[in-house]
């Protein structure tokens, strides 16, 4: 009990100071995000979140995204139930043994054009659970991953910012591919 209390007291309240992130506030971030979504996904991006053995930390952050402060719905982003309805797959956690088949099926069930994003350190390289017997260490070992959102767990704003970065990059790559098509 004593060690837990010590850990709570010592950890810093602010994990990542805002100005350090040099990022804009949510409002302007959101506007840019919705403009790029309009360009890429005709103004409606539906995301399917797959918890592949995650510690549920990333899920908390993503749920926070749809609260009244962040409210990503106004930028045209929606969390959907079935991968069939989704354009983007958020995969969190180092893929555990029993979730492998489920993850593969989800990937197969998502119609093209789709983007797979590994969210949280666990998904990227196994994080705290690296090299344990029950996990694959990273999502890319199971399904092809396009982008990554670091952080254990990444705060909602970080998720939003990285989402914007992801969309900008896909924009550039689609412009390039459409030119050489």
């Amino acid at each position: 009990m004593y060690r837990l209390l010590r850990k709570i007291a010592l950890t810093a309240k602010v994990v990542v100071p805002e100005k350090e992130l040099l990022l804009l506030d949510t409002e302007t971030l959101g506007q840019e995000l919705s403009s790029s979504i309009k360009k890429l996904f005709q103004g409606s991006l539906s995301i399917r979140e797959v918890a592949a053995g995650s510690s549920n930390a990333e899920e908390q952050e993503l749920t926070a995204l749809s609260n009244s402060y962040y409210d990503i719905e106004r930028f045209g982003i929606r969390f959907v139930a079935s991968p069939r309805h989704a354009d983007m797959l958020f995969v969190s956690g180092p893929v555990s043994r029993n979730m492998t088949e489920g993850l593969r099926r989800t990937y197969a069930a998502t119609p093209d054009p789709k983007i797979v994003v590994a969210i949280g350190d666990g998904a990227i390289d196994g994080g705290v659970y690296r090299d344990s017997y029950g996990v694959w260490n990273s999502v890319s070992d199971v399904i092809p991953v396009d982008f990554q959102i670091p952080g254990d767990p990444p705060s909602p704003k970080v998720v939003l910012a990285s989402l914007l970065k992801i969309l900008r990059e896909t924009e550039k790559s689609t412009d390039v591919s459409s030119e050489n098509k």
Binding site: S82, G102, L103
Partner: protein, 685 residues
Amino acid sequence: MEFLLTPASVLLLFAFFFIGSVGAVFIERLFSDNGKMAGFWGHGFALLGSLLGLAISVSVLFFGQGIAFTLPTVFPNFLLDFRLDGIAAFFFGIISLVSALASIYGFGYQKHFYGKYRLGVFSFFYNAFIASLLLVPIANHALFFLLAWELMSVASYFLVVFENQKEENIKAGFLYFLMTHFGTVFVMIAFFLAYKATGSFLFDDWRAATGTITPLIQGIIFGAALIGFGTKAGIIPLHIWLPEAHPAAPSHVSALMSGVMVKTALFMLFRFFFDFFPGAPMEWGLVIILIGSLSALLGILYALSENDIKRLLAFSTVENVGIILLGLGAGVTFFSIGLESFALFSLAAALYHTLNHAIFKSLLFLGAGSVVEATGTRNMESYGGLIKLLPFTAGFFLVGSLAISAFPPFNGFASEWLTFQSLFIGMTSAEMIIKVVFFIAIGSLVFTSGLAAACFVKTFGATFLARPRTEEAKNAKEVSVFMLLPMGILALLSFLLGINATTVVASLIAIIASIGLIRPVTLQFPFSEFIQARADFAAILPLESIALLLGLVFLLSFGAIWFVTRSRKIVVGPTWDCGTPLGPRGEITSGSFSRSLVTIFRGILRPTRQSTVEYHDEDMRYFIKSQEIRTSMSDPYRKGIYQPIGVVLHFLASQARRIQSGNVNMYILYLFLTLIILLLWATHV
């Protein structure tokens, strides 16, 4: 064409059936190909006879000229009197149409019996059954009718118990035999009362003597006729034989029994209430409507809780008979309160539903027959995914389900719409009692059509969609073309009858008018009049334009969407079920589909549920090895009505046995005493 209007054609028809039946038995002797030739012979002549019957009825209806003739017989008071007027020709047509198609189906279905059962015997009873079915509407003499009625019951009994290796078929046959003869007793009561009241067995005399019957006698006659023909039609309390007997018979026979034999009973009810003794008091109409709404609602509820595909269709026959009775009852009520045009309208609705039910119910039964033929079992829980293995059967079955759930472009909708309209008219009539009864009728009809849609989603879904659940369903193969052709014709018919509903309704009104409801009894009926009536019906029931509109809008939207998304590709992947690997038991079964509705109506259906649990070790009851849950429906009629009657009868029988002392002399003493008593009574009375 004139030949078809002469009595000779009717006799030729029965000659065909006679040759078909008797010939088949000999053929089976000659050829040792386990009945193949006999089967073809029997079904072939049945087909010939029914096609001739169809031609006769069409020519009678088209030329508007009936056929009537009598054949004298050896016995004094027994004339073979035939009378094929408008209404009889209508039923004659339905029967011959369905039996023609069933016979074609029979060619394909008979290989089901090679080596196992004797096809010669089957053809004998099959032809006898169709002949008696065709005899019933045209018999014009009470005893002649009873002969045809009895022949029909006996022939159908032998067809029900034909597959005698299965124990439950024998039991079903016995129950069927018992119940039909229970009904025939009441039919006889009605006939003999009518004979006593009018002094003759000829139906023509009954029609002429309408004035002389006292209301009491007329009441008893109606009551007896209702119970007698009700048993055969399968109204609710007397229906328990129907879901046992119809599935037991071979499929094309159960299509005949369900589609057509039930209608002969309704035909006679129609004759009794409108032809022989018109002017029944209003109460009879209300009684028929109440029986109809009860049968409709309970019929579809039992159908919903069924897992055996043919029993489900049999229960749905009970439901549709209920709907027909609604139309009939409305007709009687309107006729008694003087609204003749509305009476004609609701009777046309009833007859139209009779025609429609004959078509889509036989389509469904033939479909079920080919599914049973392909998979070998009747249990819906073991079907699944058959649409990919039996594509045509699935398509026709879908058309049948759409028609029976009364959806617009098909014929089921046309007749149910008409029944609704006649009930709405009744609802706005003056008397309070009529309003209440019509309210109940509309309520039950609405719930019935809703539940019917649910029931046939379950049937079609559990049987044809998703993945095969068992081995039998996996290696099912499409049935032969003989079986698909009749189903195709029936599916086309149910669409065509839906489209030009106005023509059918107008001609039905012309037919009903011909039996003396409005004008004196005539063999002829004014077909020209019906052409004019067709116009004002077109405004009321515009089914053709609905079908046209639906087609146009469908093409428009399909084209637009295809154009917009033409460059998109379709990837075929495994079913997404939240990632879980899906075994055959993953999808919903028919029992679990109807579970929610059955739980809602548990007051009526009283589902029973036993679960047996087996633990690894008995005393520590934590780790369950296996658990089995058995759900079934309790049959309140068997427990509530027929069991007590059985007990009472058994008690009486055991008392009666006491006089059976086994001593011959005692019996002769009883004889002697009765002789003395009779002599005394005869001389003193």
